[in-house]
Subunit: 338 residues, 2 copies
Amino acid sequence: MSENITLSLEEVRQLSESVLTSNGFNQAHARAITDIIYTNQLGDCHSHGLYRLFMCVESIRSGRASGTAEPTIIDAGPAVVRANANDGISLLAMQAAMPLLIEKAKRNGIAALAINRCFHFSALWPEVEKLSEAGLAGMAMLPSHAWVAPAGGTRGLLGTNPFAFSWPRQGKAPFTFDFATSQFARGEIELYRRAGKPLPEGVAIDHEGKPTTDAEAAMHGAMLTFGGHKGSALSLMIELMAGPLIDDLTSKESMEFAEGKPEAPYHGEIILAFDPNLLSGGRVAENNERAERLFADVIDQGARLPSQRRQAAQAFNLERNALEIPKALYDDLLKLKV
Amino acid sequence: MSENITLSLEEVRQLSESVLTSNGFNQAHARAITDIIYTNQLGDCHSHGLYRLFMCVESIRSGRASGTAEPTIIDAGPAVVRANANDGISLLAMQAAMPLLIEKAKRNGIAALAINRCFHFSALWPEVEKLSEAGLAGMAMLPSHAWVAPAGGTRGLLGTNPFAFSWPRQGKAPFTFDFATSQFARGEIELYRRAGKPLPEGVAIDHEGKPTTDAEAAMHGAMLTFGGHKGSALSLMIELMAGPLIDDLTSKESMEFAEGKPEAPYHGEIILAFDPNLLSGGRVAENNERAERLFADVIDQGARLPSQRRQAAQAFNLERNALEIPKALYDDLLKLKV
């Protein structure tokens, strides 16, 4: 049993902003970071909510992430925006570049945003949902650290490499998913290790590249991708799309850069935006209905759309204008303030 | 033991073209289709090589696919090409639209091609490799027929929904993958059924939505996606990206349209092209080296890059200017000529 406390939504924002500003983030960074931390916490996504403030603070205390860097927004082609975070956390650069990405996607039919030279700690779903709020479909991906072996391999090379997608639904919360291409998240392995529980098969290999269900051995070996060689291929694609394609680091390079420190990983990110209007030849309403029939066919057979649970939590917490977090987390966060 | 015969590469092309033209495809369609059938056969991809001529011929004999339709190429936005196949096989439309897609990607940094109103039978890897030959990264996806249940569901809704990606490597064959998002291909289930062999677990459900290893029951039930709920989410994304986004059919709509006939499925396709030059800020050479280090790290640990085997077969068959196919297939193909 863990004790929870209830915070008003305004208190959640204030807590996040005050932790960040008291540690050297300027107001602009603190707001951009809080916007995403708040959005995750609102959906009861605890792993990417207030908990991530520890990683933000680690990143600035180590002296490597900047809390004041102005992102540079570069109009790099008719359908390309490049946002250089200049060693800041990714989110101010993302927020600053998003209006131009949306404008370019609506003008051209499709557009890409490359975020470079950023520290990154956040889930991708709020970013692709920003595109869906603007009536666009969105896709986002990025590397992390080389903890995951390619299919048939023996050691870590790929990141947990998340992939997110969002589709705008007229008058409804968007269809959104956001998943790691590793079978497990890194933190899950750690939870099994602490609990002394064996891992399921197919999740990890040991330092010799042999399959293992021992979480301790897995921490010294490598994780595996979801979906065997198909998931491994996707993960390699993500390395390429959010690495060499946009002139930024692979997961292996990012891990070398980090030198084992518990900061947020430093690398790039790519976000793609698709305009249903130009891509459908102007037939948005008819195709919104077609997509709705698809979703209804998922739900009618007892399956769930991705994000349904999270979106329900968001609606519930918004309605009551409050949310719950563990008391222990709250106390630890107060200690982060300096 | 099956008997093989050896054909020169020119004989492969001639065989394909003569089967097609004798069944009512005009020269332009026959060449565009043969180009892809030949490319698959050259890589020993038998399932998408000459074998697919049966499906092409079925499609025209049923009177639904046109063997003479001129595709309409529409400049639908600065970064969007829409190619209406006008009820022909997709490949002439794809071939006709590809130069404009490449031009738009190089000018804008990213571009999309929507192929609409097409019958589709072909693997996607040759299409994304055409982009890589032009120095671009490519992504392609499309629906099929509603044989695959969403995660947690009980009946077919999604297609086998293939996803392909290609990355240009300077001076080398591209990094390419092309996989179905279903756990198995439809034809594989059929092979298990004929052989009376039990399916592996996790591949299919019966008509009541219960897990089954009985291939006969699976044929009357539904297949499952690879990778559980993550593969299912990807497959839903593909339905949206190559369906409602581009004003074309979902797998369920395509299956209803087919009325159980063994033609090629009728629906749309989306192809995305990415320019490494504009997206990397002009740093293509440095990032080609970065990608090569990633590939070397895959191979050095004993893993294989996707398509390595197929690309080796292509090189081998090109070198000897000949390839082998089963004698029985050859005889059946000759009978297709009218």
